[in-house]
Point group: C2
Chain length 482, copies 2
């Protein structure tokens, strides 16, 4: 799609709409490398704001950043049985380096547990060296057959946390701490409500004892796994011999967690809020929060309007608002409006000669609504308040949409009808048997997203499995997923 073409409406083709929004807003582009995307500045700017917020949260909870090698000896992957089974088919393999065939091929990291535990074995000797609380910002490669911008690409950017502890309880606590932190980030920054809970055996991370996840519902009623946090037990510690002397003088393997979110979140943000005009971006993650569009007919008007607009820009910038002034010549205000709307800028300030006379600017919200505000002293606070309102309203409306598309206590027939029809989240009893999960997936393409955490569970709890009718061991949330 060229920049000036129409965006396919959501109702017509959601997947085409998604790509159109990305191309029109110049968030990313296809590259000549199979399955790899280019993240353009307007998309990377969103990712940078995400990184900065998450990094602050990680550091505030005692984590430190480090960097481990991109390449992993092929034999390392094989040391943890489930891990190699899960990841080996997806790897990119370097077989030549410096003009020679390598003795041992190197895998481009699909995740870094193995290389990190090889190092922890060297660094951790005693309980005094614990906990180790590491995070890494890195690129990851997983060979994908079907790719989709941001959501599933052969290379993607992420953060991966890796922590080692003296006890299982501490590692579990860390796993849950991060899950909560992810949820907070997704709700408070992305305005994207999520359900948290436990993954079933078939959906957990290859090498984990337990995987917890945050699941969001997109506008097409498909679920997005937005972040995962794994309790790894002693699996990788045993595989790599990461032992430590306990306070009691004994010897034990460390207990671990790992957790990650990726550039996939940008896809989640787009599919949570955007509309048929283009991107809608929550103000806290908008690289440009306010665009000022001056309106004038003559050079004299231009000078007068730009003087005021420039002052407003300076005041907003001084107030910590990310603002740009669109003073391009040869482009009509209406065309500018449309362009900035499709790029998802939350607030537009229009200023013409009459506004200057009246000491006002017209504030238009990307999400609808337009009203004059005084352009004097109170302007910065007024704009900040509006940005806060938009942020809150986006979360509220995303939550209302999610809830409207959630059905609890579905029967077998209802589950099938729902998943073959409108989609959404379906809560129902689950017997805990893989066979039922598999059968449901074959019939409806829906999978268990999570066994939800307590606050999300239905009351009363479902008594029987939605599929086989046997006693339910848990409630599960089903959905078709990205």
């Amino acid at each position: 799609m060229a920049d000036d073409q129409r965006i396919t409406p959501r109702a017509e083709d959601f997947s085409a709409w998604y790509n159109d929004v990305i191309m029109r807003a110049q968030l990313a582009d296809y590259s000549p490398v199979r399955g790899c995307m280019v993240i353009r500045p307007r998309g990377y700017g969103i990712w940078e704001l995400m990184q900065s917020a998450l990094d602050r949260m990680f550091k505030d909870t005692g984590h430190e950043n480090a960097y481990f090698p991109l390449f992993i000896p092929q034999s390392f992957l094989a040391k943890e049985a489930e891990h190699v089974e899960g990841f080996a088919p997806q790897t990119a393999v370097v077989t030549r380096g410096g003009g020679k065939e390598l003795e041992e091929p190197l895998v481009v990291r699909p995740t870094s547990e193995t290389i990190i535990y090889a190092m922890l074995t060297k660094w951790v000797q005693s309980y005094r060296d614990l906990p180790v609380l590491l995070n890494q910002w890195a690129n990851i490669v997983r060979w994908e057959m079907r790719t989709r911008l941001f959501l599933r690409t052969t290379e993607f950017l992420w953060q991966e946390g890796h922590t080692a502890h003296a006890t299982a309880e501490e590692a579990e606590q860390e796993t849950r701490l991060i899950l909560g932190l992810y949820r907070r980030f997704m709700e408070e920054w992305m305005a994207m409500p999520v359900i948290t809970g436990l993954k079933t055996e078939s959906e957990k991370f290859a090498g984990a004892v337990r995987t917890y996840a945050c699941e969001a519902l997109m506008q097409d009623n498909r679920a997005l796994q937005a972040g995962t946090s794994h309790f790894l037990g002693q699996n990788f510690a045993r595989a790599f011999g990461t032992q430590f002397q306990t306070a009691g003088g004994g010897l034990d393997y460390v207990w671990s967690s790992s957790w990650g979110v990726s550039t996939r979140l940008v896809g989640g943000l787009i599919m949570s809020h955007s509309d048929d005009i283009g991107l809608v971006c929550p103000p806290r993650l908008a690289p440009i929060q306010v665009v000022i569009v001056p309106i004038f007919r003559s050079d004299e008007e231009r000078a007068r309007v730009l003087a005021v607009a420039g002052g407003i820009q300076q005041a907003l910038r001084a107030g910590g608002v990310r603002v740009t002034l669109d003073d391009r010549d040869g482009m009509k205000p209406g065309a500018k409006y449309y362009e900035w709307e499709s790029r998802g800028v939350p607030v537009r300030l229009e200023i013409g000669p009459r506004d200057v006379e009246k000491g006002q600017a017209v504030l238009a919200r990307r999400t609808g609504g337009k009203a004059p505000i005084p352009s004097g002293d109170g302007l910065v606070a007024a704009v900040q308040a509006v940005l806060g309102e938009i942020q809150d309203a986006l979360l509220e409306s995303a939550r209302a949409r999610r809830d409207a598309n959630t059905v609890r206590g579905v029967s077998k027939d209802e589950l099938v009808a729902l998943m073959e029809g409108p989609g959404g989240f379906a809560y129902a009893g689950y017997c805990g048997d893989d066979a039922c999960e598999k059968a449901i997936q074959e019939r409806t393409k829906a999978t268990t997203r999570v066994l939800p955490d307590e606050e999300f569970r239905s009351d009363p709890a479902p008594a029987t499995c939605v599929w086989c009718g046997r006693e339910a061991t848990a409630e599960a949330v089903w959905a078709r997923a990205y």
Copy 2:
């Protein structure tokens, strides 16, 4: 070297000293992957501060961050003749992906010009789309036979700027702008003085028309190329067909620059300032600027001292100082002093019961000197002033060392004696003939570092080439280099 072992003195073995400093300060470690290092949190913290300062400088001059694929089709490298000749021998090549042999092998990026110009060809149509001012923070792979922590590793982290302009003049201006910005960063943040200038043909970037560089002198009198900025002319634009419609209605290829600095800078920082006790880190790049060490004998003293120490920590933190309080039990103050010194923390505050009574703390500088300061209201300002003094003194002393090891107007015999002996920067006339450069390198292992910019040149300019005696076309700086 284990953490508790002695650091090899510089005078005994500079290279062993360098490794010992890194291991003791836990900046990095060797990985099980040939030629790849692990950057540990204390080293990564320095890199993060470097990134943040540079990123601010790039953004303040209008650059935006983006992200391009890790993999580059092998055929892309070949499109620019000098480029492929320079980089092909150093590449790591992915030949298998997703369990299958690839039709076209993928090179792990040794630099990103080719993939970026493939995209610019799509994005740039008209002079209105110019300039494009991009930067990327990324990992890079160049297969190295001899590696050294931070200075030369198969994988390293860097930023690479890539800009496209409508005219040669603008591209050249950008190249010089960035060179100046690098110099400012190296001097103001790293306290590492540099010479700037032009690289000779034999030392320039493979694919550039001209390469400018910043060159620093390490404590062993070897030069470090710390950053480069390239004027690429239309070389990559021609190779990838990156054309644009000019303001006059014609068609032209874009004019480009590229520029980068890497984690090598951490190595330069270490070798500029550190001593036989361990790391010395300039305060502006120190992840921990101040460590507070409480001194006590009894529980009662402990409580009293920690209450005051905690208050000081809070006050410093509120004042924007990066501070830690070392309240570990079971470790003597002297042992703590030594540990934090070897880790390069610029300022230590010691507080014992008598200090509490006197309303003071004892401030010790990593670079020498110890004196009490009042622990009341003025403490934060006093500490900030000391940090500023240390920063300035480090630059001054590094500059004095560099100047003391610089000889101008050397004769042929002096050049040989200098390069076979103490090393340092030697300024001399150069005829511009490759043959002389080659001969000097074969005889002395020294290379031309730069043809220095005007402010660094000798007055009067040397009249003849130091090697062949013919007329000099420029002055050159020679040194043995990393």
